[in-house]
């Protein structure tokens, strides 16, 4: 059962074409407070394009997006939306030449964080960045970089968090701690999280709801258990392999 309150994010018949290639086809879904919604699907399924459209980085070909009731394609409304949400991706880095603390300070100012030093200290502690706090970003390992990106994503205490494969380059220990943190913060702060990952166990463990995308279309949705049942699989990984391989064949 999903919450009865109105969604913080609504997507209605969203499509995106790049010339003749249709990357996203009439996708509709909602995201509620206190919910982790997992987007899953093989490479090229349209997950990242959807996230980029939600962030207003890519403009949709058709369809509607409403975040907090506002439209991210309109620049004034986008500004208001983005101050209340955040994003982290393994594929995006932070300014190389700056130190970790300096990098976070830049983003604290961009998001208008009150008491930024205090906030940065909390995040450094939370994401295990204490030893690298005064190191240049370029010297960080990929795991530390991912943690720094996550710290940046929490700098404004977002109400909505979009995470694109956030644990992809983390070791199992830090990945597990990050997942636990996400589940905890979702519960305590009633945060809405949209999450993509290729780790099916992770998706099964933390997602309240799932959208299964393939070739830009939603082909399955529901709780992880419902999606597994829908495709008559043993678990989510089995479903994923079945869909990716069946369609290719």
């Amino acid at each position: 059962m999903r919450p009865e309150s109105s969604p913080v994010l609504e997507v209605n018949k969203l499509s995106k074409s790049f010339n003749s290639f249709q990357a996203v086809k009439e996708v509709s879904f909602e995201l509620y407070r206190g919910e982790i919604l997992g987007l899953l699907g093989p490479n090229g399924a349209g997950k990242t394009t959807i996230i980029h459209m939600l962030l207003g980085l890519t403009l949709p070909t058709s369809g509607d997006i409403k975040i907090f009731g506002l439209n991210p394609a309109r620049s004034r409304q986008r500004e208001k939306i983005l101050s209340r949400m955040n994003f982290s991706s393994t594929y995006v880095a932070m300014p190389y030449s700056l130190k970790v603390k300096e990098s976070l300070m830049v983003f604290a100012r961009l998001y208008g964080v009150k008491k930024p030093r205090q906030k940065i200290e909390i995040l450094i502690e939370r994401f295990d960045l204490k030893e690298s706090a005064n190191k240049a970003v370029r010297t960080l390992s990929s795991g530390q970089m991912t943690r720094l990106n996550l710290a940046k994503a929490f700098i404004n205490d977002p109400e909505i968090l979009l995470l694109d494969e956030p644990t992809a380059s983390l070791d199992p220990d830090i990945a597990d701690r990050t997942r636990n943190y996400l589940v905890e913060i979702k519960r305590t702060r009633n945060m809405a999280i949209l999450y993509t990952s290729h780790n099916m166990k992770e998706m099964e463990a933390i997602s309240d709801h799932l959208l299964f995308l393939h070739h830009g279309e939603i082909i399955g949705r529901g709780t992880p258990q419902e999606v597994v049942r829908q495709f008559r699989g043993e678990d989510l990984e089995d479903v994923f392999l079945k869909i990716a391989r069946e369609v290719e064949v």
């Binding site: 995106k16 790049f18 990357a23 990242t48 394009t49 980029h52 962030l55 207003g56 980085l57 890519t58 403009l59 620049s75 500004e79 208001k80 983005l82 101050s83 955040n86 994003f87 991706s89 594929y91 995006v92 880095a93 932070m94 300014p95 190389y96 030449s97 983003f107 961009l110 998001y111 208008g112 970003v137 990106n149 940046k152």
Partner: protein, 266 residues
Amino acid sequence: MSFRRISAMFLRHIYLYRHSFTRLLEIVYWPLLDLLLWGFVSVYITKLTSQGQTAPNFLAIFLGALILWDILFRSQQGISVSFLEEVWARNFLNLFVSPLTISEYLVSLMLVSLFKVAVVFLVSSLLAWLLYSFNLFIIGLHLLPFMINLIIMGWSIGLLTTAFILRFGQQAEVLAWGIAVLFQPVSAVFYPVSVLPHFLQVIARYVPASYVFEGMRAVIMGQSFPTGYLARAMILNLIYLVLVLLFFFRMFKAVRVKGLLVHMGE
């Protein structure tokens, strides 16, 4: 030594040139511009000596021109290289998923550009004074409108370059280093516009920097301050800045439609 391995590395670079028009262009671009610039400087000096004219204060003219040209160049770099810093760091997306607007971003780049110009101007003026006893401030208060015009022209070139990098990706990066220099021969930095062939003189009339350098030479040679030149430079600069800004915003929208913004720095 293995010839096979050497030829493999040679082939690697040939492939690179085959797939990159900008790299191919670079091979002829810089020598051509050097040839044009120093060719016109030579024509200028030869003309003066053959006509038996009194040689102007070359030290003041060349050093003054060099320092002022650097203002234009650093102003442009302050925009385009600062933008590239985010692309190289793969930090571009993080900035544009924050509440930062594109207008705020452009203003911040202009501020960086002003900071760079101030530092470069102070350092080069000081060095010119220490090493060559050349005091740029003999130009007096006229220096300020000269500098403002060069800074604005630098911004226009920087924004134009940035718009192309946004649209065509990092393969257009070479523009950040080379496009300002393209304007150097027709900006009459080290020689008067009259030295240029007629068709380049026509082009120079539409280049704001050419009026600034003509004005600088006039002031150094003790002639009256060329108010008309500065007015023309300012009008052209404002027209170009508005056009470039419109082009930039149009390009930014096109890039969002094509989904290219997310590929910046990949």
